[in-house]
Symmetry: C2
Subunit: 161 residues, 2 copies
DNA sequence: GGGGCCCTACTCGGATACCCGCTGTCCGAGTAACCCAGG
DNA sequence: CCTGGGTTACTCGGACAGCGGGTATCCGAGTAGGGCCCC
């Protein structure tokens, strides 16, 4: 069970976007250069965030991505769902159906107690993700490394050329 | 993010084993026939359980698998770890290191606040898995469908040939 | 000088290869049971 | 009849293909901006 690398990229990208001028869009290429990531692939992840309504995208010159809503209203679960999709990790394949006690008219994805137990654990996971917003994470960064926003802004300003 | 199919098989197999005579081992092939699963592949999963110390295996005629300890002492986390491995789903690739504020002497798998937030959520997930034993699941099955143990035993007895 | 049109360059967006890990299969090492011959 | 050895068949165990999804890339559609021509 391995989570996509894009989740990490997406979260850092959103936090970075919150530190920049909201009046101008940020290019996927420049955002990729910031962390030395493959530009086209980061673009793909940002597209997913845009489809999910977390970012808004504008094509053409002076185009790019920007936050569609403040970081206080973006949970970690929003980002994970946008990148990984809405499907759950544990997917009951209903092996009970094929067994001697199985019945065709029962949906074992809900009836099977193994499935229920796994869903309960995964529910706790999602609840924990939903309880944390990107603003919470950003606050911790600004608290422990206060010059990060300014350094980030300066880096993008110098690379404006 | 998708969990291996083998986790579901492993849990049902362990519960089934608890219903059978502990004095005789159960073949992977017969266990696979019970749910119409690929015998060799189920065998592979049971091997993983044996390596983790959840099952004990004996080769040769009259061989097979049996529970190494009672279901009360097998948590869902034990099974998941045995099949999926000990690695976490979210793996911080330390993108911060490549950024302008990154430092070579910092382990961002622990220092990065994004990573910390994700680890916190995953910790809640694992905690929930560790809180449930296979005996708890078995108890719910026996409570709601009481004849399951007997039907299971009868099926394997008839298929003893 | 001002306005409108065209051209250019830039960005996202989706379509297209590549690669690793899960899925599935096969054959060999090892062993317990059985059979048979000898005492 | 009892015992010991050889043979057989059965099981796990790991090594070997196949395939799907994540990873990475490229090119086209669309647009904003700038330059140029005309009024």
């Amino acid at each position: 069970m391995r989570m996509s690398e894009g989740v990490e990229w997406a979260m850092h990208s959103c936090i970075n976007l919150s530190w920049l001028d909201p009046d101008e869009a940020m290019t996927a290429a420049r955002l990729a250069a910031f962390y030395e990531l493959p530009p086209a692939y980061l673009n793909k992840q940002l597209q997913a965030l845009a489809r999910a309504g977390i970012l808004s995208s504008t094509p053409g010159p002076r185009g790019g991505f920007r936050l569609a809503r403040p970081l206080e209203r973006i949970t970690l679960l929003d980002v994970v769902t946008a990148i990984e999709g809405p499907g759950e990790a544990f997917r009951c394949e209903q092996v009970l159906r094929k067994g001697p006690v199985g019945r065709e008219d029962v949906d074992y994805r809900k009836a099977c107690f193994v499935s229920q137990a796994m869903r309960q654990a995964e529910s706790a996971y999602r609840k924990e993700l939903a309880a944390q917003t990107l603003a919470d994470v950003r606050a911790k960064v600004e608290r422990h490394i206060p010059d990060t926003p300014e350094v980030t802004r300066a880096w993008f300003a110098r690379r404006r050329s």
